[in-house]
Symmetry: C2
Subunit: 694 residues, 2 copies
Amino acid sequence: MPPFIPPLADPSKTVSSLVAERALVSFPIEPLTQFLHGANLDPQRKIRNLLEQDPVFSNADKPFLSREKMYVRSLEKAAKLVEMRKKNNWSDEDMMRAMMMVGDSTPQFLHEALFIPTLRTQLSDEQQKIWLPKAVNYEIFGCYAQTELAHGSNLRKLETTATFIPETDEFEIDTPTINAMKWWPGALAQTSTHCAIYARLILHGKDYGVHPFLLQIRAPGTHAPMPNIEIGNLGNKIGFNTIDNGFMRVHKVRIPREQMMMRNSKVTREGVYVPAKNAKMNYSTMVAIRANIVKNAGYALGQALTIAIRYSMVRVQGGDRIPSQKGEELKIIDHGMQRFRLTTSLALSYAMLMTGRVMTDLHKRNLKNVVQGEVGLMAEVHATSSGLKALTSDLATAQMEDARRACGGHGYAWCGGIVDILTTTLQDVTVEGENTILHLQTSRWLLKTVLQAKKTNDLSMVPSGLRSALAGNHVIEDEKSTIVPGQPISGETLIAAFWHREARVLQEVVLQILKDGAGEEAMAKSQVQMVELSRTHGEGMLVRNFYEAIAQQEQVIRNEHKADPTKGYLPVLKMLCELHAIHRLIEQSGDFLEDGYVSRRQLNWCKDRRSQLIDLLRYEIIGLVDAFDISDNQLNSAIGRKDGRVYESLYEWAKYGMTIMEKGSQGGVLGFDEVMKDVLAEGRRLNGVATSKL
Amino acid sequence: MPPFIPPLADPSKTVSSLVAERALVSFPIEPLTQFLHGANLDPQRKIRNLLEQDPVFSNADKPFLSREKMYVRSLEKAAKLVEMRKKNNWSDEDMMRAMMMVGDSTPQFLHEALFIPTLRTQLSDEQQKIWLPKAVNYEIFGCYAQTELAHGSNLRKLETTATFIPETDEFEIDTPTINAMKWWPGALAQTSTHCAIYARLILHGKDYGVHPFLLQIRAPGTHAPMPNIEIGNLGNKIGFNTIDNGFMRVHKVRIPREQMMMRNSKVTREGVYVPAKNAKMNYSTMVAIRANIVKNAGYALGQALTIAIRYSMVRVQGGDRIPSQKGEELKIIDHGMQRFRLTTSLALSYAMLMTGRVMTDLHKRNLKNVVQGEVGLMAEVHATSSGLKALTSDLATAQMEDARRACGGHGYAWCGGIVDILTTTLQDVTVEGENTILHLQTSRWLLKTVLQAKKTNDLSMVPSGLRSALAGNHVIEDEKSTIVPGQPISGETLIAAFWHREARVLQEVVLQILKDGAGEEAMAKSQVQMVELSRTHGEGMLVRNFYEAIAQQEQVIRNEHKADPTKGYLPVLKMLCELHAIHRLIEQSGDFLEDGYVSRRQLNWCKDRRSQLIDLLRYEIIGLVDAFDISDNQLNSAIGRKDGRVYESLYEWAKYGMTIMEKGSQGGVLGFDEVMKDVLAEGRRLNGVATSKL
């Protein structure tokens, strides 16, 4: 097992620049950490402390491993967690926390957070009695097999079939073409023994659409693929290489009818189809995962910024020609551009975390309803989670990449720590609904709501900020922003600006689509504008939710904590929130200037105010990232460690890496034994260098 | 050696959708390819044909290899090229072409394109006589050791020392601190025997700044590090893992005085420093590399788009609800958003290629001058190359990542082909001057030029489009764009818009900096605005150079080819050029709307015109990417191959990958032997499953 190398950060050896930075933070960190993590904080920390005593959970070797070795190491971590759960009597929630605290992705996550929940939501009560104990105790290990080689987000077109065989009371699962092979499921290539496979249900020759089935894919004991099942691995990916994404071809494999997942739709012994009470219930798992992606976008970006901001306070470079520097270089955080990009990204990260809160609440309320057969909230939750998933995964990954670049060369190396978290998060723009498609879902919902309201004159379903979009063409143009140059910009003013922009974009799209006949052709024609509409909707939500979360917390501090909300972290979050809204407005200034809603003078004030806020936050940002409470082993970054011992750590880490790196075939330097020995010998021969001279 | 798997594209088996697309292109491809590659085309193709007969150059195994194995494979390719050069009597230019045609990065590139040119530009004639034959014949293999663990772009602060020892006529090279270790040089970790090391020259206790020296780092025959030299490898990186980036610590190692590189500055036997005639000559190599990055940004993006555009014409998904589709899915290129993002990126790629032409010409003229001791062009070339390198590497990598996402899941896998080219190109935002620093260099030059002109009233050095920035505050604001809604937008109108925007930004920065005292402090304070200024400068250059290249080629076709430039590819390039300029204007619309230069009506027309152009180019884009003439082995993409056999290729490739993937320790499934066997057995035990049942 690898040691925790470099030794985990030691507060007593923290570099002086970070000590100095931390001393200047205006608020105590711990209350903010409690606010961010809530009731999870204590159990999380307890579990993490436990994990970080066992070197199996050291992530120190990860920057040096091949895909294959990363995978095996992730299984070692997973196996240990199974053991620890039993020993420590962890609840399901604790297990989920533990997987989060590992600081690495393992195939176990697909089993615990995707396969088992699928069993819970798709199997009937009787089916659960049989299968859940198997899955929970790891007698079987499962994955979720939906996407096919030639079919992704458009589930209607999946090709895998499950044909009912009345004679034997079985389904025959089949991959009719190469294009129909299951392609991409995580944990499929090597880890899983079973999968939830999505296939077209065929009854007496009739196609009933895609349904989930339970299929055993590997034999117990040998783990060999079951007869007529071909399974393989996709090879390297840009990230997420701890996970064995796989492909699978199934040649007419029979399963008992009871292995159709029958909580919702059913097939009787006679081969009669009993439809689900509500077809949308199948989407519930997907909504949960999307809500999670929104939340995690904020944390993942926070992780990248923890690294980039700490590093920027240790690294010095340039600025030595500024007279007041007297030849000394500046901390790179004190370069305006570096501070600008990292502080605005930090504001975004908090905006996403706050929105994640609201989303999770909404999902929980929705799930409760769905279980009780109520699906009223589903359309809105589904639509909202779609566009927000797309927007936040886009923005978070773009800013993580920006943070990586802000770390220069050390950001390019795996030991820098951002590479891993970035390339893992990159999958989020594609999985669980590709982003463009998701934006279109949100827009369709917005359009449908507005067109319906136009028809019925009933505005109750239209968000109040968007009602002006229903009025004539010119009403919106007469609005003007209430930004007052020279004064801080209020939440009301900024929220109104985002509503105004969205209403205008919505109005334009509605008019265009009505002009084009309001059908599918019309929407297809306006696809670029529809994606834009969903983005504006999401941008507005980020701003509103940030303000709302602050307002709520203000009440909690005042009423529950009986404390003064004008002290501590809240005033700092308010600045961050104003910064976020102003920055996003400036970044998309064309949209706000276009119809004269924001004037040039107002825009210039926004830019000045943004600079002011960045300056005001200069000595708070280390506190704002420390508050995320990400441990050094989770960060796994030589340059972002809490004690700031950047260079020592890079050196020690590279030396450790050398101890596990492959040697040359003759035990010499890798590549020399294999190739360069001969190349250089030939060079000497050409130049007439006698071998004896060596 | 790996086979060329999947078999290289076979025109006779091209999928019907690509055949149909190609039949609709309005121009013959070959003349455009000739225009893009010029005189290089024929020798390039000849060499590529030669390479692609030898499986050592197959890149098919790359998506499945570990960093270590990728590195060894890249050496095999390099060794073969050394052999082929001799056998085929290749010129230096041919060798460079061959390295480009390999479609993979090898450490050889650092030896041939960085180390040897350094010897040529930094060694005196006598020194070259000794060292060049060694390097050219691969008796020695060299790298370029400049960056240090704690020091990057600010060369003034490098710490490594070279102290003159008069007694023995030697220099003592030393790494005084951990922070001073050489860190990052490519080909340092394992491949190189020698390096060009940059160190502070110390003569009789006085520091003369950073100079290049030649240092032997490994022993012939054994390849063991030389005494008192510690060398290591940095581990995995986000990309470029065929290259052994390394670190090096040098403990007071002596080299003969003659191993200071003395073409420019010199040290005599007495330890007297003879400065270079022009200190800037040292920067010449760097300028060449930056010019190359600009050019390659266009090609790298072109490569990613070749993949994404071909794939988008084969992949079908969604759209089956549009009535006219009658239940069939659309080619994804026929989704508006997909077409929009890929076509605008393609326009950018061409804009960068055209700018690359101009840059390379400028560099060649400059190099000729420098060799003759003329450095008049240097300031402009250096400044121009800086900002453009930053802008183009930023934009190209952003759009490559966008192209990767546009390929959905298959874009995330290495076999998709974009991952490798993207993660390799990502280094370009950091190497050879970090992008922010480079933007600041361009801005400094612009500001210096303008402030000088203000002082002297001599406007001759100020680009004509920027002279209005020197006038009073209001002159620029009175200008209005000549865009006429409903009409195609002319080059003059668009070029004027970019000049106007840049002049306004420049004027604002100048006023601010003059207000703040015009010194280093003032510039430091306006860093964010200065980066913006350089970006606007680069954006304008991309637009102008695209128009200029077309105008020049129009003359060539008319006068040299005696052909009709209104036929063939040129009208298509004109549309692409208009699209590029309009799209960039819309993307940054706030800048153009802010002062009323562009009205809302004009902006709306720009958006409509952009859509028109994208539609007009719909059946040209396959021709525009085919014209890049990138072979399937260079692309190394299952989804971008010329014959469009996407799914078959993905499947065959994954199956091939399985043959070289590591097995489990007992010969079973990887991960099962090592870990999962026990986990699953324990699960069965817990559930009371008798082992005999297996």
